[in-house]
C-alpha cells in the first residue's frame, strides 16, 4: 500500500510540473512568421509572395487606371460619365477603384517590408555561392524587393500625392498603434530612389543565380526585377523630374548593355497573338502568367479589356485619329494592334492591345502583361535629348527607328503601305518636334499604362490642362485620387485630398 501511495504521489507531482508543454503549439496549416525567413527557400517564397501581391493587382491597376484616366480610353457605348476614373467629377471618397488600389498596394508592401526587415540579418552562406559576376542571392532578393517597393510607391504618389511611407511590417494589431500620417511626396520619392539605387547596384541583368530552378532563365529574368527594370524606372522618374541627362544616362545603360533589342516585327511583342512571342527580346519586365491549376494568371486584368472573347473598352476618336491610315489604306501596324473599328451605328472602336480569347469563367489566362519594354527607353531618350538641345539628330534617329518598325510590311493582316520616317524639316522647331515625340510615344505605348502620367508631366512642363480635360475636370482639385474614406475613419492622422470632403 505504501508503495502505491508513493507511486501515486510521484505521478501526481510529475504530471503537474511536467515539462510536456501542451500549451506551446505551433500551427501546421499556416506559416509561423516568427520562425519564417530562416532558410533561403523561406526568403525566395517570401519574395514570390511579394511578386504575386504586386503583380496580381496593383501593378496591373497602375496600368489600367492610367489608361482609364487618360484621353486614350473611353467606356464602350454608355459613355465615360459613369466611370469615375474617366470622369472625375463623379469620383468620391468611397470610390472602390481608388480604395482597392490603396489596399492592394499596401498589402503588397507589407509582404515586401517583412522581407526587407528579415533578410538583411540572414547569413549569406544560406544562399549558396553566387554565379560568376553576380552578387550573393541574398542581395539580389533584397534588390528585387526594393524594386517592387519603389515601383509601388512611385505609382502611389502619382495617383494619391503624399502617401504614408511605411517601411516596416506591423508589429501590433492595435489600430491605435498603426496611425500614420501622409509623408511628403518628395520624402517618399527619396526612399524610392534609394531603393532603386540599391536594386540597380545589386540586381543582375539576367538571373543566372536562379538558372537551375524550375522555369527557364528567360522566364526568371523577364518575370523578375533586373538591373534593366531598376534603371528604366529610374529613367522614368528622372524624365518626370526634368533631370534630362540622368534619364538619358539610365536609358543608355540599358540600351548599351546589349541585353535587350527591339524585335524585328512590332507584332511579335504582345503574346495575345501568339504565345510563342512571350518574353521577346525587347521586354524588360513581363508579368509571367501560365495556364493551369495553381498557376499565376491575370485573368481579371485581361477580362477588363475583353470579356468572353468580346471587346469591352473603347478607344477614343482622338486616339483613333492619331494613327495614320484608314481601314482601306493600312499604314501603321500599331493601329490595328491597338484598336479595332466595328462599323455600325454608332461606330465602335475597341481597345485591343491585350486580347483574351478565353471566357471569363475559364480561369488561367496565359497571356503575359508587359509593364516595361525597351521602346520606352528610345522615347525617353528622344524626349530628353530634344529638351536638352534642338536639333538632335540622335533624337530623330530613335523616333525613326520606332516608326520604321511600325511600317513593317509583313503585317499579318494584309499589306501595309507604311508610314514615312520623320525629318527635322517638317519639325523645324523644338516645340514641333517635342509634339511629334509625344505623339509617337502615345502611339507606341498606347494602353500600356503611361498616358495619364504623361499628361500630368506635360501639364507640369507646359502649364497646360490636358490632364484635367481628359477626365472632365474644370479645376485641378480631383486630379489626385481620394484617400479611401474608410481609411480616414480608422487612421485619424490622414488628411483627405482636396475636392473629396
Amino acid at each position: 500500500m505504501k508503495k502505491i501511495k508513493i507511486i501515486v504521489v510521484t505521478l501526481f507531482l510529475m504530471l503537474s510540473f511536467s515539462t510536456c508543454e501542451v500549451i506551446d503549439l505551433a500551427p501546421n496549416d499556416r506559416i509561423d512568421l516568427a520562425k519564417f525567413y530562416s532558410t533561403a527557400s523561406d526568403a525566395e517564397s517570401g519574395l514570390i509572395g511579394g511578386y504575386i501581391t504586386t503583380f496580381n493587382s496593383p501593378a496591373v491597376n497602375f496600368i489600367f487606371f492610367n489608361n482609364r484616366s487618360s484621353d486614350d480610353l473611353t467606356a464602350p457605348i454608355d459613355g465615360r460619365q459613369s466611370d469615375a476614373l474617366m470622369f472625375r467629377p463623379i469620383m468620391d471618397r468611397n470610390n472602390g477603384d481608388a480604395g482597392g488600389l490603396w489596399n492592394d498596394s499596401y498589402n503588397a508592401l507589407a509582404s515586401l517590408n517583412l522581407l526587407m526587415g528579415r533578410v538583411p540579418s540572414m547569413d549569406e552562406g544560406l544562399f549558396g555561392r553566387p554565379a560568376a559576376g553576380q552578387f550573393n542571392r541574398k542581395y539580389e532578393i533584397l534588390g528585387e524587393a526594393k524594386f517592387l517597393r519603389a515601383y509601388i510607391y512611385y505609382n502611389l504618389t502619382q495617383f494619391f500625392g503624399d502617401v504614408p511611407l511605411v517601411t516596416q511590417f506591423p508589429t501590433s494589431s492595435d489600430p491605435a498603434k498603426n496611425q500614420v500620417a501622409r509623408t511628403p511626396k518628395a520624402q517618399v520619392m527619396d526612399t524610392v530612389m534609394a531603393d532603386l539605387a540599391y536594386a540597380d547596384k545589386y540586381l543582375p541583368w539576367q538571373h543566372n543565380n536562379l538558372a537551375t530552378i524550375a522555369e527557364d532563365q528567360v522566364v526568371q529574368s523577364k518575370g523578375r526585377a533586373t538591373k534593366g527594370a531598376a534603371k528604366l524606372l529610374a529613367a522614368r522618374i528622372f524624365l518626370q523630374r526634368k533631370e534630362w541627362q540622368k534619364s538619358i544616362d539610365k536609358c543608355k545603360e540599358i540600351v548599351g548593355s546589349g541585353q535587350f533589342t527591339l524585335t524585328r516585327k512590332w507584332t511579335t511583342i504582345f503574346s495575345s497573338s501568339n504565345l510563342a512571342s512571350q518574353n521577346s527580346s525587347e521586354s524588360i519586365l513581363e508579368i509571367q502568367t501560365k495556364r493551369g491549376p495553381g498557376e499565376f494568371n491575370n485573368n481579371g486584368g485581361y477580362s477588363w479589356f475583353h470579356q468572353d472573347g468580346a471587346p469591352r473598352r473603347g478607344a477614343t476618336i482622338d486616339a483613333f485619329n492619331l494613327f495614320e491610315g484608314s481601314n482601306t489604306n493600312r499604314k501603321d501596324v500599331r493601329k490595328e494592334f491597338s484598336m479595332s473599328q466595328v462599323v455600325g451605328t454608332p461606330a465602335q472602336i475597341y481597345a485591343l492591345k491585350y486580347a483574351n480569347s478565353f471566357p471569363w469563367w475559364d480561369a488561367a489566362n496565359p497571356f503575359n502583361f508587359i509593364p516595361m519594354r525597351l521602346t520606352e527607353c528610345y522615347l525617353i531618350m528622344a524626349e530628353a535629348l530634344n529638351e536638352l538641345s534642338y536639333p538632335s539628330s540622335e533624337a530623330l534617329g530613335y523616333i525613326n527607328t520606332l516608326r520604321s518598325r511600325a511600317a513593317d510590311p509583313n503585317f499579318t493582316n494584309g499589306p501595309v503601305s507604311g508610314i514615312a520616317p520623320y525629318s527635322l524639316v517638317t519639325f523645324d522647331t523644338q516645340l514641333k518636334f517635342r509634339q511629334a515625340i509625344r505623339e509617337e510615344r502615345r502611339r507606341e505605348l498606347m494602353f500600356e499604362g503611361h498616358r495619364w502620367f504623361d499628361l500630368l508631366r506635360y501639364d507640369a512642363m507646359d502649364g497646360t490642362t490636358k490632364a484635367m480635360d481628359a477626365v472632365g475636370l474644370t479645376s485641378p482639385e480631383k486630379l489626385l485620387f481620394p484617400i479611401p474614406q474608410g481609411e480616414i475613419i480608422v487612421n485619424s492622422l490622414l488628411v483627405q485630398n482636396p475636392g473629396y470632403n
Binding site: P27, L33, G49, S111, N178, A214, G223, W361
Partner: protein, 1022 residues
C-alpha cells in the same frame, strides 16, 4: 447515496450467516401516502441475500425467524424490521429530508445533495430522457431545464442543434456549452463544412454542419447536469462561460442484474406545407406577367396535362427505428454496464437520413478497500445522408446563380413549375423546365449526394486511491477520437455556364482529443460535527491534435461515381486546416457548511492555453458562493407550507476559449498560385500578444424552497457581463491588413429562471407529477463599436441596446398605380435610405419554458410535455421565395408562387397586398423594396408546442413473474404532435445559420422542417 447503499450491501455481505430456520416473508412497501415503492432493496441483515420490490411494491424473501430485514431506497430513511416469526411484513417508508432530492453531479467526481447546493444547476435524469426517443441527447434537454434554450436548427436527420445556456454572450465565438462525459471534456463543436472554394480560392462556410452530439447514444445516459452560474462552472475555467453540461453514463450495480431490450419503430411526416398555385393558376400568372413584358403574346405558357405537386414529390412519410440492448450487474468486486444500439432515421425529404450504431462498456473494479479502477468506452459509427443547401448556405444564392453548393431541394420544390412532370414522358430521365433557372427538385435530391460517415471513440480509464483517511486521489485519462469523411457530389446544372459536369468534393477530418485530470480530495473530520468541509485540488491537461482537408474536382460527366478518377478536370486547390490546441490547468475547490445551515463554496482555476497570446497566456477564474438555509434557523416558524427555504448567491468569472486557435501569432500562408515556378508565401496576420479568452462575470441570486413537502421551487436571477469579446477590428490598410480579431466588445445577459416540480397527487393507484419551468433572458450589446453593429443582413447590435432586427417596413398594399411593392418612407424624403430603417423586434425570445406532466394509473403511464418560445421574431425567407414575383427580374419567369398570388394586383387602381406579375426589367420606383431587407416576411416566431405525448402500459407483475421477466412495457409516443403558432412557415423552430452566428439567428431559409413523429415501442427487462 447509492455509494452508501452499496457500501452497506458490501458490509452486510461480508458478515457471516447464522444457522437456519427458514421462513418466507412477504409484504408490501409503501410511502406515507400509501403509494407503492417499486425497486426497493430488501436485504437480510448480515447476509448478502436480498431482493427488490416489484412494480406494486410487493416482495417475497426467504429468511430465518430471528433475522432482521433492512429496507432501503434512495430518498427514504432506511427501515429495519425484526422478522420475529412474522410472515407478512408491510413497511411504510418515510422520506429522508437530508437525502431528499437527487444527488447532483458537479463535475470532477464531485457530488452534492441538492439541498446543500449553493449554485444554480439543472438536472435531467435518465427517466426524463427515456420518455422521448431522440436522435441526439441535446434534444433531451429541450424545455426541461430553466435557462437553457435548445433549438434544433433544422429538422434534417443528424442536423445541428444550438444549445444556449442563459443567453448568448459572444459575437463571434462558439456559444455551445462545454460537454463533459464521464469526466472528459469532449469536442462538441462542429468539425467543418464541405464546399468548393469561393472565387478567392478560400473555403466557404455553408451547408449544414455535423452535430457533434449525435454520436452519443442517449439511452446510455444516467443523468445530465447543466451547470449554469459562475460558481458551479468556474471550476471549468476558460471553457465554462457558455455553461457546462456534465453527462454521466450508466454504471453497473452490484448484486443487481439487469437486462434490457428496447425496440421502437415510428413514422415521421411533414407537419405543414405551403399553399402554392396549381398548374392552371400558375400558367395564368406567367402569361399575365409575359403579357406585360411582351405585349402581343397572348399565352406564353400552354397548359400541360401535368399538375405536379413538388412538395408531394420531395416530402415523404419516413420511418425511424431503434433497437437497443443493455445489460448491467456485477458483484462487490466488479460491476459492468454494456450496451449496444442501432438507430436509423430516414428523412422526411427524399434521399436524406441518419443512422448510427453505438456500443458502450463501463466497468468498475475494486482491487481492494483502497483502490478502485475502471473504464468507460464507447464507440459510434454514423452515416449522415444530408440534403444539399439545407440550413446552411443561402438558398437565395440559387436565385443569384452563384450557389457554391448547387440549388436547394426544398427551395426548388417550392418554386418549380407544376406544369412539369417529374420524369420525361418518354422515360428518358428527369424532366426539366426550359423556362426556369431552377432544377428539377427530385433530380437534385436523387442525383447528387452528400454523405458524411463518422467514427467516434470516446473513452477513459480511471483509478481512485484512498491515501489516508479522508484523503483520496482520482486520476482519469480519456480521449475523444473522431474520424469523419464526407463525399459531396453535385450534379451539373442544366444550362449553367460551366456545364462541364458535376463537382465532387471530399472532406476528411480527424481528431485526437486527449485529457487527463487528477484530483486530490480531502475531507477532514472535525470534533465539532457541525462543521463539514470538503476540499479538492487538481490539475488537468488536455490537447487536441486535428487536421482536416477537402479537395474537389469538376468535370464528373458520368454520374453515379464518387471517385476522383471519374473527373476529366484538374484538381482545384485543396484547403486544409489545423485547429489543434492544448491546455494546462490547475484548480481547487472547497465546500463548507455549518450545521447544514450556512453553506459556502469557493473555487479557482488557472488555465493556460495554446490559443492565448503570450501576454495573457494564463487565465485565472475564481468564484464564490454562499447559501443560507433560513428554514433551519430557530426563528423560522414551523409550518406546513414551507419546509425548506434556502437563499443563495454566487459570483464568479469564467471564460470562453472557443476562439480561433493560433490567431495571436503573426502568420503567413502560401499563395494559391505559383509564380514562375515558386511557391509564394504571404503574410496573413499581425501578432496580437493579448489575444485571449472572452470573459464573463456572472452574479446569481437564487432561492430554493420546498413547499407543502411535495414541491421544489427554484428561482434564480442572474446577470452575466461579458467583456473582451472578439470582434474583427478594422485596421488602417497601410498595415497591409484589413483588420484583426481583437478582444474589445462587451455584452450583457440578464434573466430570471423559475422552476417548480413535484408530486401533485399521489394515491394508491394514481400518481401525478408535474414540472414547470420558465426563463426570461435579455441580451444586450454593450460595446460592439469596432463593428458596424450589423451582423448579417438585418441583425443589429447597438451599444446599450438589446440585439434586434432592423428592417425596412413595407406598405401594406402595393402601389395601386404600378403594382410594385414599396417601402414606407419613414423620413419622408422621397427615397429609400438608412432613415427608413426601423428596429422591428428581437430575434431572441422574451421567455422560453417547458411543462411536463406525468400520470401513472395502475399499469398505465402517460406523459405530456409542452414546450414553448415566446416573443422572438423570425425572418421567413422561405416564404419570400414563393412571393418573389418577377417585378424586376426576368430570371424569375417560371417561378411558382404562393396562393397569396391569387389576390394579386392586376391593373392600375387595384388595392392589393400582392404585387402585379411583371417580367419586364422595369425601372424600379424610388421606394422599391428590391435588394434590401424588409419586414415582408418578418413573423412572430412564438410557439407553444405539444412536444411529446407518451403513453405506456406495463404488463402486470403477476403475469411477469410467470415468464420470469422483470418488466414488460409497451409504449407509444408522439413528437411535435401539436404546435400553436402564428408562424406561417413549415415550422417555427428554425435557425438557419445557428451554427455559424450567435447574433444572426431566427432566419428560415428553406430550412429542412421538423417532422411530426409517431412511435410504437416495446421495452423488456429481465
Amino acid at each position: 447515496m447509492i455509494r452508501y447503499l452499496l457500501a452497506g450491501v458490501f458490509f452486510i455481505s461480508f458478515c457471516s450467516t447464522s444457522f437456519s430456520q427458514a421462513i418466507t416473508v412477504t409484504g408490501r412497501v409503501t410511502d406515507i401516502q400509501k403509494a407503492s415503492i417499486p425497486g426497493l432493496n430488501i436485504v437480510v441483515k448480515g447476509t448478502s441475500r436480498g431482493t427488490i420490490t416489484d412494480a406494486d411494491g410487493n416482495y417475497t424473501i426467504v429468511c430465518e425467524l430471528r433475522d432482521k430485514l433492512i429496507f432501503s431506497f434512495i430518498g427514504y430513511k432506511p427501515v429495519q424490521e425484526e422478522v420475529m416469526g412474522r410472515q407478512i411484513i408491510n413497511v411504510v417508508m418515510r422520506e429522508d429530508q437530508q437525502e431528499l432530492g437527487e444527488v447532483v453531479v458537479l463535475g470532477y467526481n464531485t457530488e452534492q445533495s441538492r439541498r446543500d447546493l449553493t449554485t444554480s444547476v439543472s438536472v435531467i435524469s435518465a427517466e426524463d430522457i427515456l420518455k422521448i426517443p431522440v436522435a441526439s441527447l441535446d434534444q433531451a434537454i429541450q424545455g426541461r431545464a430553466a435557462g437553457v434554450q435548445v433549438i434544433k436548427n433544422t429538422g434534417a436527420p443528424g442536423g445541428g442543434v444550438s444549445v444556449r445556456v442563459r443567453g448568448t454572450a459572444s459575437f463571434t465565438g462558439n456559444q455551445e456549452p462545454l460537454y463533459v462525459v464521464d469526466g472528459i471534456a469532449i469536442n462538441n463543436t462542429f468539425s467543418g463544412t464541405t464546399g468548393p472554394p469561393d472565387s478567392n480560392g478560400g473555403s466557404r462556410a455553408g451547408n449544414e454542419v455535423v452535430n457533434g452530439m449525435a454520436g452519443i447514444n442517449s439511452d446510455d445516459i444516467e443523468s445530465i447536469t447543466i451547470l449554469k452560474d459562475a460558481a458551479s462552472t468556474s471550476i471549468y475555467g476558460a471553457r465554462a462561460a457558455n455553461g457546462v453540461v456534465v453527462i454521466t453514463t450508466k454504471r453497473g450495480k452490484s448484486n443487481r442484474q439487469t437486462f434490457n431490450f428496447d425496440f421502437y419503430y415510428g413514422l415521421q411526416s411533414l407537419g405543414k406545407r405551403y399553399d402554392l398555385l396549381n398548374a392552371t393558376q400558375f400558367a395564368s400568372v406567367v402569361n399575365e406577367g409575359m403579357a406585360r413584358s411582351r405585349p402581343g403574346v397572348p399565352s406564353f405558357i400552354k397548359e400541360t396535362p401535368y399538375n405536379t405537386d413538388w412538395q408531394n414529390e420531395i416530402f415523404q412519410v419516413a420511418p425511424q427505428l431503434q433497437a437497443a440492448i443493455s445489460t448491467s450487474g456485477g458483484n462487490e468486486k466488479i460491476q459492468y454496464f454494456v450496451s449496444s444500439s442501432y438507430f436509423k432515421q430516414e428523412g422526411i425529404v427524399i434521399n436524406s437520413g441518419f443512422d448510427r450504431f453505438s456500443y458502450r462498456t463501463n466497468l468498475d473494479y475494486k482491487i481492494n478497500d483502497k483502490i478502485k479502477v475502471g473504464t468507460n468506452l464507447a464507440f459510434t459509427f454514423s452515416n449522415n445522408l444530408r440534403l444539399r443547401n439545407n440550413g446552411g448556405a443561402n438558398v437565395q444564392d440559387n436565385f443569384n446563380g452563384n450557389s457554391a453548393f448547387g440549388p436547394s431541394v426544398i427551395g426548388s420544390a417550392l418554386v418549380y413549375s407544376p406544369l412539369i412532370p417529374v420524369f420525361k414522358p418518354d422515360g428518358s430521365g428527369y424532366a426539366s423546365d426550359s423556362l426556369s433557372a431552377f432544377q428539377n427538385p427530385v433530380a437534385i435530391a436523387r442525383v447528387g449526394e452528400i454523405k458524411n460517415s463518422g467514427i467516434r471513440v470516446l473513452g477513459n480509464i480511471f483509478a481512485e486511491f484512498e491515501l489516508l483517511k479522508g484523503l483520496s486521489f482520482r486520476t482519469v485519462w480519456g480521449a475523444d477520437v473522431r474520424d469523419e469523411n464526407e463525399t459531396n457530389l453535385i450534379a451539373p446544372a442544366p444550362g449553367s455556364p460551366s456545364a462541364s459536369g458535376g463537382t465532387l468534393t471530399k472532406r476528411s477530418f480527424r481528431e485526437l482529443l486527449w485529457n487527463t485530470n487528477n484530483v486530490l480530495t480531502y475531507k477532514p473530520t472535525f470534533s465539532n460535527t457541525k462543521h463539514s468541509l470538503g476540499t479538492q485540488a487538481g490539475f488537468e491537461m488536455s490537447s487536441s491534435k486535428n487536421d482536416g482537408y477537402w479537395t474537389s474536382v469538376t468535370g464528373i460527366t458520368v454520374l453515379g461515381f464518387t471517385t476522383f478518377g471519374a473527373s476529366t478536370r484538374y484538381l482545384t486547390p485543396y484547403s486544409d486546416a489545423d485547429n489543434s490546441w492544448g491546455m494546462r490547468s490547475y484548480f481547487g475547490r472547497a465546500f463548507y457548511d455549518y450545521d447544514k445551515r450556512y453553506f459556502a463554496t469557493v473555487s479557482a482555476r488557472v488555465d493556460g492555453s495554446s490559443r492565448f497570446g503570450p501576454d495573457r497566456k494564463f487565465a485565472f477564474f475564481p468564484s464564490a458562493s454562499l447559501g443560507w438555509m433560513v428554514s433551519s434557523e430557530k426563528f423560522f416558524p414551523a409550518n406546513q407550507i414551507v419546509s425548506d427555504l434556502k437563499l443563495r448567491t454566487s459570483y464568479g468569472i469564467t471564460g470562453n476559449d472557443q476562439i480561433p486557435p493560433f490567431n495571436w501569432r503573426a502568420s503567413g500562408r502560401f499563395a494559391p498560385t505559383n509564380y514562375i515556378g515558386y511557391n509564394g508565401a504571404l503574410p496573413n496576420s499581425i501578432q496580437n500578444e493579448s489575444y485571449s479568452w472572452e470573459q464573463t462575470a456572472q452574479l446569481d441570486v437564487g432561492l430554493d424552497v420546498r413547499l407543502l413537502d411535495r414541491f421544489n421551487l427554484t428561482v434564480d436571477y442572474y446577470n452575466r457581463q461579458t467583456s473582451d469579446l472578439l470582434i474583427g477590428v478594422p485596421l488602417p490598410r497601410t498595415t497591409g491588413f484589413g483588420g484583426a480579431l481583437r478582444n474589445v466588445g462587451s455584452m450583457e445577459n440578464r434573466g430570471i429562471e423559475f422552476a417548480i416540480s413535484g408530486n401533485v397527487l399521489k394515491t394508491n393507484k394514481l400518481t401525478w407529477t408535474s414540472s414547470f419551468n420558465i426563463s426570461f433572458n435579455q441580451v444586450k450589446s454593450i460595446d460592439a463599436s469596432f463593428n458596424s453593429g450589423l451582423f448579417g443582413f438585418s441583425h443589429i447590435a447597438r451599444p446599450g441596446q438589446p440585439i434586434a432586427i432592423q428592417l425596412y417596413q413595407l406598405e401594406k398594399t402595393v402601389d395601386p398605380a404600378t403594382g410594385f411593392r414599396r417601402i414606407k418612407d419613414l423620413n419622408e424624403n422621397g427615397r429609400r435610405d438608412e432613415g427608413d430603417l426601423t428596429v422591428v423586434g428581437s430575434p431572441f425570445p422574451v421567455h422560453i419554458g417547458g411543462f411536463t406532466n406525468n400520470f401513472s394509473y395502475k399499469n398505465f403511464e402517460l406523459s405530456v410535455f409542452f414546450q414553448w418560445s415566446y416573443g422572438n421574431m423570425l425572418i421567413n425567407n422561405t416564404r419570400g421565395f414563393v412571393q418573389g414575383v418577377g417585378k424586376s427580374n426576368i430570371s424569375r419567369i417560371g417561378t411558382n408562387l404562393s396562393t397569396e398570388a391569387l389576390g394579386r394586383w392586376t391593373k392600375p387602381g387595384d388595392i392589393a397586398t400582392f404585387p402585379g406579375i411583371d417580367y419586364t426589367n422595369a425601372t424600379l420606383p424610388n421606394l422599391s423594396d428590391a435588394g434590401v431587407p424588409t419586414d415582408q416576411n418578418l413573423e412572430d416566431g412564438s410557439y407553444l408546442r405539444l412536444k411529446n405525448v407518451s403513453l405506456s402500459y406495463n404488463l402486470p407483475s403477476a403475469w411477469l413473474k410467470n415468464k420470469k421477466l422483470n418488466s414488460f412495457r409497451f409504449y407509444m409516443t408522439m413528437n411535435n404532435l401539436l404546435t400553436f403558432t402564428k408562424y406561417s412557415g413549415f415550422d417555427p423552430e428554425v435557425n438557419h445559420s445557428g451554427a455559424f452566428t450567435n447574433i444572426g439567428v431566427g432566419i428560415d431559409d428553406g430550412t429542412y422542417p421538423q417532422a411530426r413523429t409517431f412511435i410504437m415501442g416495446v421495452n423488456i427487462g429481465l
